[in-house]
């Protein structure tokens, strides 16, 4: 890790006796190190610097924490409420013997909730290139691309078909999870960069793509996935069968569809849960979500499942829909019970119907929320069999020069954070294609750090859970009541102490080590090892150790950073001060005036 390239030494630091030494690396080995050892940041599609923003909460610098988020994910207040949290699945604190993962998502929300009103944003701006880019769609990917292209120096116009910007964030997520005012604040912060936003214009209908493409130097389609997938079972077209997506969009447009008292939702994603919880707010009394697989394999967060159940929603697993029955309108659903099978190559569990297990569930209405796909769009370029424009997922280009695709429209349904990352990457590609320059790059930033000030006792602080509105009945009165209340500053502080700070890299200097083994005696787990050999991968990153208990064969005492919980005990007990601590982070660095 200590390979310093003199050309990469960056001020402040190298010649500044007052500040710590800071270096930047583009070495593949260091990127590999980050991937293995800072799992939360690597798991985030937008590569949000999780340990750094959690540390800022600990320091009570809420605005700074918000900024560290915003520079890469643009919607911290929104994501802090509705992100799918891939980071928490990888958090080292959640490893079997270490407890629960850090509540990374809700700490992000705390940064939004607790920052000073009017906190100024840092947005590195480049001078204008006098080129125009049109973005079709103002969902998370379109807005992310617009933001980046605007700051890089392009004149950006967004065309939005609906009345308000935000796409699925605005129309696909109910207000009890994401208040419109939070979303509006973050969209406004992006649009204020000098972006022109035109709503109520459907590209391809109100204005042709040929016209748009002749007016702009590049066009980016980010229109998401707005076509509901069908179940393909008999009875699906009966009255009383609702499409989940259309239902949430109607509710977001202030309509109140009548669902009756007994509602069944078929589906297992966030939309299914949003529909079920919305149904209660529309007056339904008995709501059940029927899923094909198992509850523990649902992709929604466990908080979402818990809150749905708290509101009285039931979840029935292993139910395969056979058909919807009724004379004029839906009166019941016929299911067959499933048996679990092995996990297939696509990561999904195989399910087999159990013979003779058909059963009928009576309902007043059925909501089908089994996925979405992209809508055919009247744009030039190669299309797939369904008539959907196709593009290259690496270059974001369509077959038509100057026409790009991003977000869910390109990839199919994904998460909000994946869409944001996709939008930003598409912007980078467009900027490069239009100017031949690169404006930002990811590097590994390394800075000498003092020993962690974490206490071992902090590892035993329980996860601070999100408080919610109680009693449950008061949530259902008004469908705009936000259910989650946000962590208090005290709870956010406690939670921030739980983060192991995996961005601190601990290393033993073998030349100074006297092999006393004090560090091993004080280690909280098998994080310090006596090794015969260190295995490196093809990039030169550590890929494993050959351990030994035979002193004759010990060549080094090493800290396994993938097992280290950064408690700092080894540094404290080392008699010869041979353990160094370096802060390592993946950061996006602006390249001065663009680099060829």
């Amino acid at each position: 890790m200590d390979h310093v390239n003199p050309n990469d030494v960056w001020a402040p630091g190298a010649n500044d006796r007052r500040g710590p030494l800071v270096t930047y690396s583009r070495d593949a080995a260091d990127f590999d190190y980050m991937r293995i050892n800072v799992p939360c940041q690597s798991a985030c599609p937008a590569l949000t610097n999780v340990p750094a923003y959690i540390r800022s909460i600990y320091e009570k610098r809420y605005g700074h924490s918000y900024e560290l988020n915003r520079i890469v994910n643009l919607f911290p207040g929104t994501l802090g409420r509705i992100c799918s949290r891939p980071c928490e699945d990888r958090c080292r604190h959640g490893e079997p013997e270490l407890g629960e993962p850090v509540n990374i998502c809700h700490i992000k929300r705390a940064a939004y909730d607790l920052k000073e009103p009017g906190h100024p944003f840092m947005a590195p701006m480049f001078s204008s290139h006098h080129k125009r880019v049109c973005i079709v769609g103002s969902g998370p990917s379109g807005l992310a691309a617009a933001h980046d292209l605007s700051t890089i120096g392009f004149d950006v116009t967004i065309l939005e078909a609906l009345d308000e910007p935000g796409g699925m964030l605005r129309y696909g997520i109910p207000e009890f999870r994401l208040p419109h005012k939070v979303l509006k604040y973050e969209i406004d912060s992006i649009v204020r960069m000098g972006i022109t936003l035109k709503t109520g214009i459907r590209a391809g209908t109100d204005i042709s793509f040929r016209e748009i493409m002749s007016d702009y130097d590049a066009t980016l389609i980010a229109t998401g996935c707005y076509v509901s997938r069908a179940l393909n079972v008999p009875g699906e077209n009966l009255d009383g069968v609702f499409s989940g997506l259309e239902l949430v969009m109607d509710i977001a447009s202030n309509k109140s569809p009548n669902l009756g008292k007994k509602v069944a939702v078929i589906g297992a994603g966030f939309t299914a849960f949003d529909c079920a919880r919305s149904a209660l707010r529309l007056g339904a009394e008995d709501v059940t979500i029927f899923i094909r697989g198992l509850e523990e394999e649902l992709r929604v967060t466990k908080e979402e499942i818990h809150d749905a159940k708290k509101e009285g929603i039931k979840i029935k697993a292993l139910s395969l829909t056979q058909g919807i029955v009724g004379s004029n309108r839906a009166e019941g659903i016929e299911f067959v019970r499933a048996r679990t099978g092995e996990i297939g190559s696509n990561g999904r569990r195989k399910l087999y119907p159990i013979e003779g297990s058909n059963f009928l569930v009576e309902v007043d209405s059925v909501i089908v929320a089994v996925g979405q796909s992209a809508q055919p769009i009247a744009a030039p370029g190669d299309k797939n069999d369904s008539g959907i424009l196709i593009g290259n997922s690496d270059t974001f280009q369509s077959s038509e020069p100057g026409l790009y695709l991003t977000g869910d429209f390109l990839t199919g349904p994904s998460t909000v954070i994946e869409s944001i990352a996709s939008g930003r990457k598409a912007a980078e590609r467009i900027a490069h294609d239009l100017t031949g320059k690169r404006f930002r790059e990811w590097v590994v930033r390394m800075e000498e750090a003092a020993i962690t000030d974490r206490h071992r006792s902090w590892d035993f602080i329980p996860r601070q859970e999100m408080p919610t509105v109680t009693p449950v009945s008061s949530r259902l009165v008004d469908r705009r009541v936000e259910v989650e209340l946000g962590l208090s500053s005290e709870a956010a502080f406690e939670e921030s102490k739980r983060c192991y700070l995996c961005n601190l890299h601990y290393e033993i200097d073998v030349n100074k080590c006297i092999f006393c083994r004090y560090c091993i005696d004080n280690a909280p787990r098998d994080c310090i090892k006596l090794v015969e050999k260190i295995n490196l991968n093809e990039n030169g990153a550590i890929d494993g150790f050959i351990e030994t208990t035979n002193w004759q064969k010990v060549n080094a005492v090493v800290i396994d950073n993938s097992r280290c919980i950064r408690c700092g005990e080894c540094v404290r007990v080392c008699p010869v001060d041979c353990i160094s601590v370096t802060k390592v982070e993946l950061v996006e660095k602006n390249l001065l005036a663009g680099r060829q």
Partner: protein, 338 residues
Amino acid sequence: MSAERFVIIGNGPAGNEAAEILREKSPRSRVTIFGKESIRSYKPHLLPDVIAGKVDQENIFMKPDSYFREKDIQLRLGQRVKHVDFNKRQVLLEHREVVSFDGLIIATGGKPRIPEPLEVFEDVMLTLKTAFDAQLWVDRLSKTDSVLIIGGDLTSLSLTRALINLGKKVFFIVNAESFWPLPFNERLSTEIQARLCEKGVEVLNSRTVRRLTQLSDTSVEVETDCEKIRVGVVGAFFGLVPDVKFLVRSGLDIDRGILVDENLQTRFANVYAAGDCAQVYNPVIKDYWVSIGYENARTLGRIAALNMLGEMLSVKSSPESIFSLNGVKVNTSWWMEF
């Protein structure tokens, strides 16, 4: 070849029955039971009688202390299993000890179910599953004369009988969760209410509890959808749910309980689940079902152990065995117990 290592998680009737069979049929093997409670296994259905003072706490145990020594069964009490690694075939205990196994029977049983809307009041309500819970009831009842029971599973009816014998004033709220795991039934509800009233229980008109406030050691304020009362103790009785949370994401198929086939085998070789934590498909009701009750648990423990040793016994799936609880059929006449 070294002796086979059988590990049983859970020190209830299923686990003990399994241990006995394994020891008997496989004399050379090493049999270890991990129990999270610190006392040896007892008959939980006797706990209401302990509270009533009819049965001495010393007389609720299934087996004498010497039994485990004589049978060479390692009984490790007060040790909670935190995780199971099925690939390495290791059990990880809360105190970080790792124990390897060749065969594993999971028999963790159930734990009191608290419906999600009432979870925030969990600390204010008493349940009755363990001997420790019974002791809490005894302590609290020594200071108060009134009790509110919310829910209405079989345990609550046994407890209510005990409370009336002790001369306590009992209030009851029967709500939509009351007959869990059976669906709510208006006829059953009316009958049970009449039966309770006959015994001197005051059945409240309310269906839902809005708020519980612990005012002091001996007073809880209860706000329902139609009234506000004060009682000494509040008990929550909504049946049991399988105690398998520690196994979520371990690779096992978990719905409410651990999904097993009719031989009680999980998706991993030589790993079985038995008793109140196992969920088996039942063709009669066309659903997966958790069998409950002491005798059921023993039967399933026996089947799991025998299958581990190479037999291929199936669990019976007639409705009688599902709804039978300590000899009382609970689907139509469970209140007859009262």
